[in-house]
Symmetry: C2
């Protein structure tokens, strides 16, 4: 990623290769094969979770028809990688061939760093939902229309944006919501905004919280639009369901942390990861190591060498335990 970081994704791949090397060098005898996989397009430049979803048999032809990165970019990417739509659709692994899936990643947040803890054991990967919410008022002369007489779409969208911050902080621990963009119509200095469309994304750690958060956000939009006499259009854009990690694998990580003398805490992953593609197919587990300043998707992204080593050691011990 241009201006992205050097640890997001790459650390997990290098640690997995190191695990294989150590197993090989020590001639460890395991009951199942270990594989390191470098999944493509986790971030969604083309489709999103493309590599892992293909392995999990979750890619359908329609996902390749209108990819979010555009058809041309997908075609070019497939050609460069020597794959085709057909080979992607045939990439699914049989369920019985998978004994488990482990992933090491940087936290991309500050919880571990602030707590001074070595390892985050991921309990769930958040579900992600998105809507376009359009607050609908009336275009009026911004000079001759009194404040009280306006049906100002900006007031509804602004009040909503402020209210959902308080709502999430007060009632939804481990959840987030973001208004990443607003579009104004007609968008002139001297005209009261007739329509403001807010791009809403929200994340919750489990299905129950996801449903509760989604309802609360939409209620809030209704409330704030009514408060200013506005109409409201809600366009659902899609969702990724929350993915709980295997309890057995979490226990394996806990035991291995204790054996290695690493401090640990449970964490919810606020970002999507390839692990969620495989969560319904086999026991899946994921660990985080600290990110300095929580920086991610940025050239500032950094994880200290000691933390990289801790994560790789834990990955090794868990892999041996699960396949030993």
């Amino acid at each position: 990623m241009l201006n992205g970081g050097r640890f997001d994704g790459a650390l997990g791949v290098l640690a997995a290769l190191e695990v294989l090397r150590v197993v090989k060098e020590n001639n460890l005898s395991l009951t199942m094969n270990l594989e390191a996989i470098d999944f493509t397009d986790e971030e969604g430049t083309l489709v999103g979770l493309l590599g892992s979803a293909a392995i999990a048999g979750k890619i359908k032809p329609e996902h390749l028809q209108n990819p979010r990165g555009g058809r041309a970019a997908l075609e070019e990417g497939m050609q460069r990688a020597g794959v085709s739509a057909e080979s992607i659709l045939r990439a699914a692994r049989p369920r019985e061939s998978l004994g488990g899936y482990l992933e090491l990643h940087i936290e991309q947040g500050q919880r571990l760093e602030r707590a001074g803890v070595n390892i985050g054991i991921v309990t769930d990967i958040v579900g992600i939902g998105s809507y376009r919410l359009t607050f609908i008022g009336r275009a009026d002369h911004a000079g001759t229309t009194t404040m009280q007489d306006r049906l100002d779409a900006a007031q509804g969208a602004s009040a909503f944006t402020g209210a959902i911050r308080d709502l999430v902080i007060e009632r939804f621990l481990n959840c987030v919501a973001n208004v990443g963009k607003m579009e104004f119509e007609p968008g002139a200095f001297n005209i009261v905004p007739a329509r403001v469309t807010a791009s809403l994304e929200f994340r919750a750690p489990n299905a129950a919280e996801f449903t509760r958060l989604e309802a609360a956000l939409l209620d809030c939009a209704e409330l704030q639009s009514k408060r200013f006499g506005l109409g409201l259009e809600k366009e659902f854009l899609g969702k990724h369901s929350p993915s709980p990690m295997s309890e057995g694998v979490q226990k394996t990580f806990v035991d291995a942390c204790d054996a290695l003398g690493l401090s640990r805490m449970d964490l919810v992953s606020g970002a999507g990861h390839d692990a969620q593609s495989l969560a319904s197919l086999c026991p899946v587990g994921m660990i985080f190591v600290p990110s300095v300043d929580g920086a991610s998707h940025s050239p500032r992204e950094f994880t200290k060498w000691g933390d990289c080593v801790n994560g790789a050691n834990l990955l090794l011990q868990a892999a041996i335990k699960m396949s030993g």
Copy 2:
């Protein structure tokens, strides 16, 4: 104006022509000449108040260099009208040649209609100021960054938009403020907004209120940006100063209303008008007639025939009085 109204501007021109016709038909003997003028570009498709500002000697070469409608549109408009930049710059009337200026216009608001009053006597034309205000936070991953850890530019811009509505309603009678547009950067669903630029316009009826309102709005922007840990950039875009109407002319309108049996109320004009171009050169007065539903700049714009007649009669009586 495409999709504009049939009364804004046009009613005043037709009423002025009717005044001339009545004076002529009745062979009235006046001490000064009456002229009806149809000023071009009051709305600012090209420059804004172009015709009246030219007559008032207020157009400078720089106003024609970078007109808000673009050079090409101005060139084309001048060619179509048979004028040139040179002739516009030479159009100023000598101050001593102007005995007074009267203008009839539709209200473009609902105050007269709601009060059930025939005539609005304009005391002041509002001053108009505009700024681009940029709230500056930090782009972050909208999944992994907790609500508390964000420097979310959308929160500052939204809180500002809500707060100035309350501010104006509570503390600034006869003033208005409008956020007509916001621009988000980077503007993605899953990234906390780093920069939100709000287009602010505000209007106040006199110089003291204008200064007080401008300061209160900028203070509010500072306060709301600080509240969310944001930076703030303020770009001043320009202003039209408030224009008080002549007290003598207002008195003439009052007397004429009383003679004609028309009910009247004092009003501030929230819109700009050609009268403000001439306010510093000669005694200027302006009257409003009711707009049905307050609609303006819209095909819904309408003023009842009886109100048009009332306005024209009042214009006639005031013109005769001032030049009789």
